[in-house]
């Protein structure tokens, strides 16, 4: 029973780590946490180890490194001194793995959650012409436009609402 409890506790500690670039979301909400395995140590309580597997959002995302350092320090503070953080590339992360709770938190912060990522079987089709722009998260108007395909971070695009005049960000489908 102890193992189950420790396992669950380790998962909770890791899953509640905030994302450095979208701090309203945890890595559990983002869906980049692949697994947490607790390996119990000896009877005297030494040698227990937690192996955490996370996946990068974008290849160059500098947040991954910060997340891994955060996961380590959170687990240490929670009483799990032995921590290994692993990276997993395949299958590649998709914004479809953002949980319903994560999507709600994004929307509440004024960031439009992504539409469903396209399911492709062949080559990626070229998109030309004005890109679709989502509803304004503030006033709900559909009269919005894309102002930049890349925003302050690679994972977001920048938009403007033509009704209320406010700029807003949206997470891109990936």
């Amino acid at each position: 029973m102890t193992v189950v409890t420790e396992q669950g506790m380790a998962w909770d500690v890791v899953a509640s780590t905030p994302d450095p670039e979208l701090p309203m979301l945890t890595i559990g909400d983002l869906g980049i946490l692949r697994s947490v395995h607790y390996f119990p140590g000896r009877e005297n309580g030494t040698g227990g180890e937690v192996v955490v597997t996370i996946t990068p959002t974008y290849s160059g995302c500098p947040a991954l490194r910060e997340i891994s350092a955060d996961v380590r320090s959170r687990l240490t503070r929670a009483g799990f001194p032995g921590v290994t953080v692993r990276t997993q590339l395949s299958p590649a992360w998709t914004t479809d793995w953002i949980t319903p709770a994560g999507r709600r938190k994004l929307a509440k912060s004024g960031i439009v959650p992504p539409p469903r990522a396209p399911q492709r079987t062949g080559p990626v089709p070229l998109t030309l012409g004005p890109a679709p722009s989502p509803q304004c998260p503030r006033c709900g108007s559909a009269n919005t436009e894309l102002t930049a395909q890349f925003s302050a971070t690679a994972c977001k695009s920048l938009h403007r609402c033509n009704e209320c005049g406010e700029p807003f960000e949206a997470v891109k489908a990936l």
Binding site: P62, R65, R72, Q88, S90, T121, P123, A148, F150
Partner: protein, 302 residues
């Protein structure tokens, strides 16, 4: 490779002063700001080479694809703070960052096989040891060249990564699972790069007489560099169908009202080009800038 310097506050670690966060020693003193520390980008991944593959050939191929991304990323980084609008600054910087991430994983894949770190490969090789295509090293003279070159490069690289990842209908994917995974991840990013470049080529080509003339001039100037992309070489594990590449480029050119150039490919030197370590004059200047700090202060950390 150092990625991005950005100060940030972690919601739960924030205890009043941002300086407290900087002072926290997460990593034996090697970290003072967001993104300054770095580890093996393939940490914890099974990096054994499948038996059927020649490890040397796999390393050479990953190095070539990594060099394309590293050198291209550096060229894009040089444009940051010189672009026409703030929106293009963030776009070009983010594209450069994606390519730097791809470069790190590919150099780490190559380096893991031949026993070198990504930093040794990026900072301590000579010009002749770099295997990037010559298109990657070109110095863009104006914004039209930035977007035209990015359209060419991202269209080709996306098709190649789809082939390596087994995403295209005709390919089973690279026989190395690590390379296939890096390609699958990168393909998602390259699709955005290509759309960005294509939309600007259309806007400029179909814009004013001046923007049209500059974009056509950029196409004419860069076209000869395309030839090398379709000489895959003996180590290649993926292919790009020239017909599929042409179909994308021709669609963009037709929408933009631009003419497809008829220029002949840039000649190789004694049959050797970028993939063989024979580069254009531009390459030496890139390496001088890219490598100067690491060579002046080997092993330095900050």
């Amino acid at each position: 490779m150092r990625a991005w310097l950005t100060l940030t506050t972690h919601a739960d670690d924030f205890d009043g002063s941002p300086y407290d966060l900087l002072a926290q020693d997460h990593d034996a003193g090697h970290r003072w700001a967001f993104g300054t520390g770095f580890t093996d980008p393939l940490e914890g991944i099974d990096t054994s080479v499948p038996d059927a593959l020649d490890p040397g050939a796999l390393a050479r191929y990953c190095l070539a694809l990594g060099d394309d991304a590293l050198i291209y990323s550096h060229r894009l980084q040089q444009w940051v703070a010189h672009l026409p609008e703030l929106e293009e600054e963030t776009a070009v910087a983010n594209i450069a960052l994606d390519l730097l991430g791809q470069a790190r994983m590919l150099l780490a894949r190559a380096g893991g096989i031949i026993g070198q770190t990504e930093d040794e490969l990026a900072y301590f090789r000579t010009e002749k040891e770099f295997r990037n295509v010559r298109l990657a090293e070109h110095a863009d003279r104006d914004f039209a060249e930035v977007v035209v070159r990015l359209l060419m490069f991202s269209t080709w690289r996306l098709a190649l990564f789809e082939s390596l990842a087994g995403l295209g209908s005709s390919s089973a994917g690279a026989p190395d699972p690590v390379l296939a995974a890096i390609a699958a991840k990168g393909a998602n990013e390259l699709a955005y790069h290509r759309d960005y470049a294509a939309s600007w080529v259309v806007r400029l080509g179909d814009g004013t007489p001046l923007s049209h003339a500059k974009t056509q001039a950029a196409l004419d100037a860069l076209w000869p560099l395309l030839g090398e992309l379709f000489r895959p070489g003996p180590d290649a594990l993926g292919t790009v169908d020239p017909g599929a590449f042409d179909a994308v480029i021709d669609t963009v050119l037709a929408t933009a009202g631009l003419d497809r150039p008829a220029a002949a490919p840039l000649a190789a030197v004694g049959g050797r080009a970028g993939r063989d370590g024979v580069h254009t004059e531009a390459m030496g200047y890139i390496l001088a800038e890219l490598q100067s700090v690491a060579r002046a202060y080997p092993g330095a950390t900050w």
